[in-house]
Symmetry: C2
Subunit: 418 residues, 2 copies
């Protein structure tokens, strides 16, 4: 059997199982999550052994040390995995509820019921915890799921797959509802992302290379964000102390996250705050790359930003800084160089704040807040399947609702159309 | 300039204009719609002359008479066009409002603002009124639009394009926000539907051939439905008179619409209603195609349904009928042969009705109602851009909200992440 046939067959079996998951009561889906947790608890030893095999293979193949770190499981990480499962289990049922049921003038009642999408495909890299995390989010939202983990984690993922399928069976759900692709063939990904009519949505979770490849090859809908080139704009009417605190938090709270500020725009009217801000950032080891005017203020403390700097997601202790003449230059800069992820303004002027919210076309727009808040948990979604910088279907941090759709429900009492 | 370059250039100019439409107050967008109506009123004579040219060309090329009918404009149809414009103008502003603004435990406020998608592409056939209808829906929702009408309507559409652009200019909006492709080259469609990053969504409005072609070639998101193979299932606990009335209305109210019933499933426990129902349908000239058991009841009045009949959208006075053993056989049949458009049940059993709503995976699911109600106006959407049988982004009848997205709005007072 070719890898294409294998992927197709597994996906088809998951799709067939999806109807049963979709119409199951939440108590059954929750007890499946409980049973999966129990199985993982029982198989701790087995899971750690399998993970040791993956780690041994990784050292043979000379895997990058950052990836090895993500691949590694230990008791603490297994505990964290079980904790995430419990968090998802505790969320309210995202499907089946009927909203906005209203009478129309014809006498019919029309509302919307939230329903699962069907079959979700998840494509991810070395972290084995994504196997459990993604499976739990899909099951909770009534979806079946086809998982394609990194080849470097295949031994760990095999054990987790067994736990998940055993859990499903114990809860009376079809084990085929969660399929873990057991192949290291890279063609499996291209096969997955072109299964229109079988896979309803694909979510790539991983580095930019993976996401770009999936987005390029996919013909099924993809939930993704490519870049987080986030801006903070310090407006002329900003509270200077607040602006400095927000800029430092947005840049230095964590460097490797997509909602970290990469570019700071400073209104020329508050240019006097630059030396203090720069001193704080330099003290924290942040490299500064400025426009000519910022460079003139900072001298040797700041190197020249090239045009490429403005559109770069550093994911590192580097910040580009630009002095702008006014609001319009700031929002034009964001429109030109931003990635539509998260952009914020610091201002005490209400009209300016409202204007910024309206005209900046990003998945999160913020006033007087650190960009680091752009996150499913911070937004109260309970869990996060990913962040979308696209506008179709879901945008910004995506919780369980992003794995669902709505259908119209129409109730009558023999109503005919006249 | 090649047709690809021409399409790309026109789309790029519309996209550039889209930001100004997106951030314009609703009063400006409404006055643009008023000004477009005024221009059409002024150009009535010119429009009718241009339409005469299209009709003359159509008779030379031997255009199908149904298409000629759709192509033709007269005073009444121009009045109807102006009336639709007024209806769209009267709708509340679908963008800019902030929903669900709530405080999080961190102290930040998080809500969602409804925003336009950006640039919508509309691909349609002979009816020139779609030019005005689609342009008004896109403008009202803050979008720019690229229109590709049928080549047979090009003279009429040229005049309408002039009216729309003049209206935009008078209202102070960029005329580039509505672009009408002035070419009969069929490659323009393929060029449009692959403009990722420029066109945010494409809506094909027309026959199945057009929609299939767009769906096959498109790499940008498409809002579409292909088939309306709608079912009504008469359950064992149905009120017999209600069931007959609903079946007759769902089949015979109009034959050519996508929400017309094409297949009737009858529970064997209420098979006795078949002769009366059949008599009413035959009286109205409906051809009946039945399963063997239905045929045994009706004899010569009913021909045999082939397997192909079950998945066919007749769009004609033809109905397929099947006797089913129970609820499960009915919903399995709908899952196998339906198109996910609209399916209904007739029953007085509450539990069965609720079960039907939950398990049938169609964009509209109905209880004791004619399928003919699946319609944007009947659902109170105010206007309808199309019906979607896909699950991503929009599903079922789609109003102005289907041309919008949401972005997160985050308000703080110097909140940093800890």
């Amino acid at each position: 059997m070719s890898v294409q046939e294998y992927v197709k067959e597994l996906a088809a079996s998951a799709k067939r199982a999806s109807a049963q998951v979709a119409s199951s009561p939440v108590s059954v889906r929750d007890s499946a999550l409980d049973a999966v947790a129990e199985q993982i608890q029982l198989q701790r030893g087995c899971l750690l052994e399998a993970n040791q095999l993956d780690l041994a293979n990784a050292s043979t193949t000379g895997l990058d040390s950052a990836l090895v770190d993500r691949l590694e499981l230990n008791e603490g990480r297994i505990d964290a995995m079980l904790e995430s499962l419990a968090v998802v289990r505790a969320l309210p049922d995202p499907i089946g509820g009927i909203e906005d049921l209203r009478f129309m003038t014809s006498g019919i009642q029309v509302g919307k019921m939230r329903v699962p999408l069907g079959l979700i495909g998840i494509i991810y890299e070395s972290r084995p915890n994504v196997t459990v995390d993604a499976a739990s989010l899909c099951l909770k939202s009534g979806n079946a799921v086809l998982l394609r983990g990194g080849s470097e984690a295949i031994e760990s993922n095999r054990v987790l797959a067994t736990c998940i399928r055993a859990g499903l069976t114990r809860a009376g759900l079809p084990p085929e509802a969660v399929q873990v692709l057991d192949t290291t063939d890279r063609d499996a990904v291209s096969a997955m992302v072109t299964l229109n009519g079988v896979i309803d949505m694909v979510v790539p979770r991983g580095g930019k290379g993976l996401i770009e490849r999936v987005a390029r090859d996919a013909t099924v809908p993809v939930l993704k964000h490519l870049d987080g080139v986030c801006h903070l704009y310090i407006h002329a009417d900003a509270d200077v102390k607040m602006a400095i605190d927000l800029a430092i938090n947005a840049k230095t709270h964590r460097y490797g996250t997509c909602n970290t500020m990469e570019s700071l725009l400073i209104d020329q009217d508050v240019a006097t705050l630059i030396p203090d801000l720069a001193a704080s950032l330099l003290e924290r080891g942040v490299e500064l790359r400025g426009c000519p005017r910022v460079q003139r203020i900072l001298g040797d403390a700041c190197i020249a930003a090239s045009d490429a700097d403005w559109g770069t997601e550093y994911l590192a202790p580097i910040l580009s800084l630009k002095l702008v003449e006014n609001f319009q230059e700031a929002v034009d800069h964001i429109a030109k160089y931003g990635s539509g992820h998260t952009d914020g303004i610091v201002t005490n002027c209400h009209a300016t704040a409202m204007r910024f919210l309206r005209v900046v076309d990003s998945s999160s727009v913020m006033v007087n807040t650190s960009t680091r808040f752009a996150d499913g948990f911070e937004y109260g979604l309970g869990a996060e399947i990913g962040i979308s910088t696209d506008k179709i279907h879901a945008r910004g941090p995506v919780g369980l609702a992003g794995l669902t759709s709505q259908k119209y429900v129409v109730l009558g009492n023999g109503h005919i159309r006249r």
